[in-house]
């Protein structure tokens, strides 16, 4: 069926279908991004083997070196086993039952905005991300990724004038192969872990950002990931390079339709910061979390790592994790350059049957390196939250400092919060601190807010927002507002 026919059928669409959709919407009002886009897609049959990878690479018209790199990663993946340190169980993922490529329409990429089908523009507009030239968000450049491909990247001209490259990963492979070759998998090796290897073999698109020497990026760069197609996995790859003295704020958002089966999202993000460079990476993750009984939802198995390669460089991760059935994610920093700084600010919410196993690794290698870890978890319903962290101070990382604060908040008596911190210090001049607390929302706090006129839900959301403030303060304003609203929605009705 062509997309034209689909649009027609929408107008004459049967009432039954519409009312079904309405009922589904009403049954689960709290997840507002659960709708799907009706669009003709070019989707591979489920399954994974060398031919699939070759076909995928051909579809993207990749150069030979890229294909070789993928095949090498695939061979490594075949020898690896799914990791199982996650504090929880889930049915075994059948990797042959996943489709590894899905693109809207037959076209693998769009040369200009005019070629982008209107349904896609509408999809992103509905998500609050207008791509249309006239409506684009000022002050932020967006790379919009739909299933396996990047749909459009806004504001490229303005950025280009300062030598900043911000485009889809596929475009970078075509247009900036030397930069890609120089940095790809230098932070996360293809055989780093099971999911990183899988991603390397089959990743379809993602974002590429390069900020040249001395340039402070004049606007925030942002990638928005949308999974649409059923039974597909999303495997995107992001590579951010900040040269000497460069700085950039990078934002990442994501949503997915509500489906009964679990979908796999296995991304890799690599960041390289050279001397005196700064990269702030913020994520508001809102993949579909599954229902009350744990049916459906995204498996969010992600590898994110930054390399503070240069002196005085700084990489800061800020994440708000509200979605996904399972989150398995540890944004980390390799502090190689002397005086480099790594930061991790995290809010992770698990409600219903969600499992969040997240934290960070700070590896101190250079002298006078510094790391700060602030982790706030909120568990409600039957959610389980685990903080898993590694602070490692190597012998040569003299006079390094690290501070970790892990706070857990419990709502109700069927959820759980766990911390698994590991600290290894291999010199005598460094200082590592770890603090942890567990608390509940007190009846007295709730009553106090209610006595001032707030409903129970508003009271909970106010108290939670206060609890998360240290993390929200590190988000750009508009993201902080979104994150705060999202927490309210996610935890609605969790206190009876």
């Amino acid at each position: 069926m062509s997309s034209h026919e689909i649009m027609d059928s929408e107008y004459t669409g049967s009432r039954v279908e519409q009312s079904n959709q309405k009922a589904a919407e009403m049954a689960n009002t709290e997840y507002k991004h659960g709708w799907t886009t009706d669009i003709d897609s070019d989707t591979f049959a489920p399954g994974l083997n060398e031919d699939v990878i070759r076909a995928l690479s051909a579809k993207k018209e990749e150069p030979e070196w890229m294909l070789e790199w993928r095949l090498k990663a695939y061979k490594q993946w075949l020898t690896m086993e799914e990791p199982h340190w996650l504090n929880g169980d889930y049915p075994k993922v059948d990797y042959q039952d996943v489709s590894y490529y899905s693109a809207p329409s037959k076209k693998a990429k769009y040369e200009s905005m005019d070629e982008v089908p209107p349904e896609l523009l509408e999809t992103f507009e509905k998500l609050g991300i207008p791509l249309d030239e006239r409506k684009q968000l000022a002050g932020v450049a967006v790379d919009a990724v739909f299933d396996s491909v990047s749909v459009a990247t806004t504001h490229q001209d303005i950025l280009g004038k300062q030598g900043i490259i911000f485009c889809s990963f596929s475009e970078a492979v075509q247009n900036h192969p030397d930069l890609v070759k120089q940095y790809l998998s230098t932070v996360v090796p293809t055989n780093d872990n099971f999911y990183a290897a899988l991603n390397s073999a089959v990743f379809t698109d993602g974002s590429f950002a390069f900020i040249p020497k001395g340039v402070k990026c004049p606007m925030d760069l942002s990638t928005y990931f949308r999974i649409n197609q059923a039974q597909t996995g999303q495997f995107e790859r992001t590579l951010i390079i900040a040269e000497e003295g460069a700085s950039v704020n990078y934002l990442e958002g994501c949503t997915a339709p509500q489906r009964d089966e679990n979908q796999l999202h296995a991304a890799v993000v690599e960041i390289v910061a050279l001397d005196n460079a700064t990269v702030n990476y913020s994520t508001v993750q809102n993949w579909y979390a599954g229902d009350e009984e744990g049916v459906g939802g995204i498996y969010n198995f992600v590898t994110k790592r930054g390399k503070c390669q240069g002196v005085n460089s700084r990489i800061s991760w800020t994440q708000v994790e509200t979605g996904s059935a399972i989150t398995w994610k540890y944004p980390s920093c390799l502090l190689i350059g002397d005086n480099s700084v790594g930061e991790f600010y995290s809010v992770a919410v698990s409600n219903k049957r969600q499992l969040a196993d997240t934290g960070t690794k700070m590896i101190h290698i250079g002298k006078n390196t510094k790391s700060t870890v602030i982790s706030k978890t909120i568990s409600a319903g039957r959610g389980q939250n685990s903080y898993r962290g590694l602070i490692q101070v190597m012998p040569k990382a003299a006079h390094s400092r690290s501070y970790t604060q892990c706070d857990s908040l419990l709502i109700g008596d069927q959820c759980g919060a766990h911390t698994f911190p590991t600290i290894e210090v291999k010199n005598t001049t460094s200082n590592v601190e770890h603090e942890a607390s567990t608390s509940k929302i007190s009846e007295d706090q709730l009553f106090y807010c209610q006595q001032r006129g707030m409903s129970t839900d508003d009271a909970v959301s106010t108290i939670i927002n206060g609890y998360c403030k240290e993390v929200f303060d590190h988000l750009p304003m508009e993201f902080a507002v979104e994150a705060s609203n999202l927490l309210g929605i996610t935890l609605e009705g969790s206190v009876g």
Binding site: D444, Q445, Y448, Q451, R452, D458, T462
Partner: protein, 250 residues
């Protein structure tokens, strides 16, 4: 405005209030006095709707609305305010934000427009002047790191912003030194209004030197055993609560 009849309240299955009667009209100031354990705070909490306080018998109406089954936020929206004996800390939330959200919830329930940050800031500045609290109260987190006296003054500020019809002050004078007591009392006096009633729950007479009540009630063993004018407070101060105990043998 407030009519409480034969009010019985249990806390964890122990009966604390045992048939209390109280009527408060607009513009009046009532002082509720009594020895420790007589049920003063229970009365305050039960009227505000804390769910640990179970009403087992009797009635309580506020502006002709039955309070007994009403959630606490609805009582607040009707204009019932409780100044807490032990104000609660809410880390990470500024006083200004907290009060703006609270006031807007109340405004919304009355079909009024919500105040934006700028409009609210202006209102807050006026109220801070009215009850004489320093500007830094606005940006500090709700009661976090406040001294005992500051917490009580913050309750008075909240009362000023919320502009309740009935304000119940639960031992607002306890733990205040003489200067703080004077400032808090001035704050209360500045909020006196023919349309507004106050119920001052207090253990000591000294607050009443500053805030002159129209009525004084003595609460003992869950009932009001004696009512009178301001002179009753002075008599109590002089004779002590033993006087009441002797009059009401257990």
């Amino acid at each position: 405005m407030l009519h409480v009849n034969n009010f019985h309240v249990n806390v964890e299955d122990t009966e604390i209030l045992r048939g209390l009667d109280l009527t408060v009209n607009a513009g009046e100031v009532h002082a509720i006095m009594g020895p420790n354990g007589s049920g003063k705070s229970t009365l305050a909490q039960a009227l505000a709707g804390h769910d640990a306080y179970e009403v087992t018998d009797g009635t309580a109406t506020f502006l002709d609305n039955d309070l007994t089954e009403m959630p606490p936020e609805e009582r607040a929206r009707l204009g019932l305010f409780l100044a807490f004996q032990y104000p609660v800390e809410i880390p990470g939330i500024s006083n200004a934000y907290f009060l703006q959200s609270s006031l807007n919830e109340v405004r919304k329930s009355h079909g009024l427009d919500e105040l934006d940050a700028l409009e609210f800031q202006e209102l807050l500045a006026q109220k801070m002047e009215l009850v004489n609290v320093p500007m830094h109260f606005a940006d500090r987190n709700v009661n976090e790191g406040f001294s005992g006296g500051e917490k009580k003054r913050n309750e008075i500020l909240q009362m000023a912003v919320m502009e309740p019809k009935l304000a119940i002050l639960d031992e607002t004078d306890s733990g205040l030194d003489i200067d703080a007591l004077r400032i808090v009392s001035e704050g209360i006096n500045n909020l006196r209004d023919p349309e507004r009633a106050f119920v001052l729950v207090t253990h000591y007479q000294r607050l009443l030197d500053y805030v002159k009540p129209d009525f004084v009630h003595v609460l003992y063993q869950g009932r009001i055993v004696k009512s009178g004018g301001p002179e009753l407070a002075l008599e109590l101060e002089e004779k002590g609560y033993d006087w009441i105990r002797e009059m009401n043998p257990a």
